[in-house]
């Protein structure tokens, strides 16, 4: 669906490249995540791919056609959910959606359906200026998907949302993937990436440090551990490596002592993998 090869980009007046020869490919019907801290080049990559930034080097192929060869019809195929809300605050939510959707030939579901799905139907006729940040973020999301795009670009789509509304948005993203849509997600939220993405690229300082499915990355780069808390000392859990468990005397004696309060295995998080590979925190 989308193939990026050796992409480099430098902002005017910058001494260093923001993107340093990154390559990746997104398959149709998959959620591809770009995971990295602020300033790592995630949003820059997206802006290049949806043709807002020019002056890059490398190749970008969208649906077997080089990106520069695409005209305005490219924007009928994509939906973009920017990180910052972008609505006319003097218009209502419904007026905003009607305006933006009026430029697309395809409207499979009306705005009320999506407003209802993200919990905004009761506020459809209120001015956006009266909306909270979370409401604006949800409206942003609806604006991006209203024309039923083939590829959806999401930049931090759950930032500013409470867990319930973040869950609603993530549910829709999964449904879109299941219906064959391709989703390019950038985030520094490892929890979202882990939950949603079929494949993630860990981006740091303009380079992709690792690219695989979240589960494989965690297995490959994480440490498998068993954590035990004892009834006499619940504040100090003990950690044992999973692969040597049968040979550890201390673990065996704890088992025999009948003092175990909790015992569970723990796999690495994407954040831990990221820190291990890049030496940097995600947020």
């Amino acid at each position: 669906m989308l193939t990026v090869g050796n992409l480099s980009f430098r902002y005017p007046n910058n001494q260093e490249d923001t993107l340093k020869g990154i390559s990746f490919s997104i398959q149709k019907g998959k959620i591809f995540g770009f995971l990295g801290p602020s300033g790592s080049g995630k949003s820059t990559t997206q802006k290049i791919v949806y043709k807002l930034l020019k002056g890059y080097t490398g190749t970008i192929i969208f649906e077997d056609k080089p990106l520069p060869d695409w005209g305005l019809e490219f924007y009928e195929k994509i939906g973009v959910c920017f990180e910052l809300p972008n609505h006319y605050t003097k218009l209502t939510a419904r007026e905003n959606l009607n305006f933006f959707s009026s430029f697309y030939p395809i409207k499979r579901k009306n705005s009320d359906y999506w407003l209802d799905r993200v919990g905004l139907i009761a506020d459809a006729d209120k001015l956006v200026s009266s909306f909270s940040k979370g409401m604006k973020v949800r409206l942003n999301f609806v604006r991006a998907i209203l024309h039923d795009p083939e590829v959806l670009f999401l930049d931090e789509p759950t930032t500013g949302l409470d867990p319930i509304n973040a869950g609603k948005v993530k549910q829709i993203i999964k449904e879109m993937r299941d219906s064959g849509k391709t989703i390019f997600l950038t985030t520094h939220n490892m929890f979202d990436a882990d939950q949603l993405c079929d494949e993630v690229a860990l981006l740091c300082n303009g380079k992709i440090q690792a690219l695989d499915s979240p589960s494989k990355l965690k297995l490959q780069h994480g440490e498998k551990k068993v954590i035990v808390t004892q009834s006499g000392d619940p504040g100090n859990p003990l950690t044992f490596p999973l692969d040597q468990l049968g040979e550890i005397q201390q673990f065996q004696s704890i088992l025999k002592s009948n003092t175990i309060e909790t015992i569970h295995s723990k796999e690495a998080t994407l954040e831990e993998v990221f820190i291990k590979l890049t030496g940097q925190q995600l947020s």
Partner: protein
């Protein structure tokens, strides 16, 4: 054209909701009151032309810059940049909306000041094209300004420069002195809508006004449109 209609509808709504329409209406009412006060003194042509030039024509400059900055602050320019439309429609619709408003308000002012004793063709063309020129200028200055204060600071020299040809309305001032000032043509054609002037003056006015309007559209496309992407 199909994609221009939603923009025209949007811009009309935004002019109303941002109270820019109300501001124009209030200022026009004040001017109408002023004309009634000036009527007993005789010749109201010069103040009428000056006020039409000042508002609604120059008002187009301010509104264009303000609408651009509103959109920039609301990040809506970013959202428009990924729509499957020609980005120039964003500018064209605002210019058309503001210029139509300018023509309507100028007619109200003219009718209240001199009745039907004016040339509606000269007035319509001069106000419309001048408004187009000033709207483009507003977009140019707005798009290179980071905020409203910066926009106002940059506007001051523009206003001073563009106001200088108003002096040709007074006897004895040769228009040729202001030949390089883009607003000269607007003033000359606007003047011909209310008073009898030499044909050469009208011709010069039209050529000058059309030339500078075309230049302003061209510069607006080169400077402002790339900032939409």
């Amino acid at each position: 054209m199909n994609t221009l209609v939603p923009f025209l509808r949007l811009d009309s709504t935004l002019l109303f909701r941002n109270k820019l329409f109300h501001i124009s209406a209030i200022i026009t009412i004040i001017y109408i009151g002023l004309f009634y006060l000036l009527k007993p003194l005789g010749n109201t042509h010069i103040p009428l032309i000056v006020l039409i030039y000042n508002d609604p024509v120059i008002m187009g400059y301010m509104f264009a810059g303000v609408l651009w900055l509103f959109d920039k602050n609301q990040n809506t320019i970013q959202a428009i940049s990924v729509l499957p439309i020609s980005k120039s429609n964003y500018i064209i619709s605002k210019v058309i909306t503001l210029s139509i408003l300018a023509v309507i308000l100028s007619f109200i002012m003219a009718l209240s000041a001199v009745g039907i004793r004016f040339n509606p063709i000269h007035l319509t063309i001069s106000v419309f094209l001048s408004s187009v020129m000033f709207c483009c200028l507003g977009f140019i200055i707005g798009s290179i300004s980071s905020n409203f204060l910066a926009f106002l600071m940059k506007s001051l020299p523009v206003f001073i420069l563009f106001a200088t040809p108003v002096t040709v309305l007074f006897d004895g001032v040769n228009p040729v002195y202001f030949i390089l000032v883009p607003s000269l043509g607007s003033i000359l054609v606007m003047q011909s809508a209310f008073v009898a002037v030499e044909v050469i003056s009208i011709q010069l006015g039209y050529i000058h006004m059309c030339f500078w309007t075309a230049i302003s559209i061209f510069v607006c496309y080169r400077i402002t449109i790339p900032r939409l992407l």
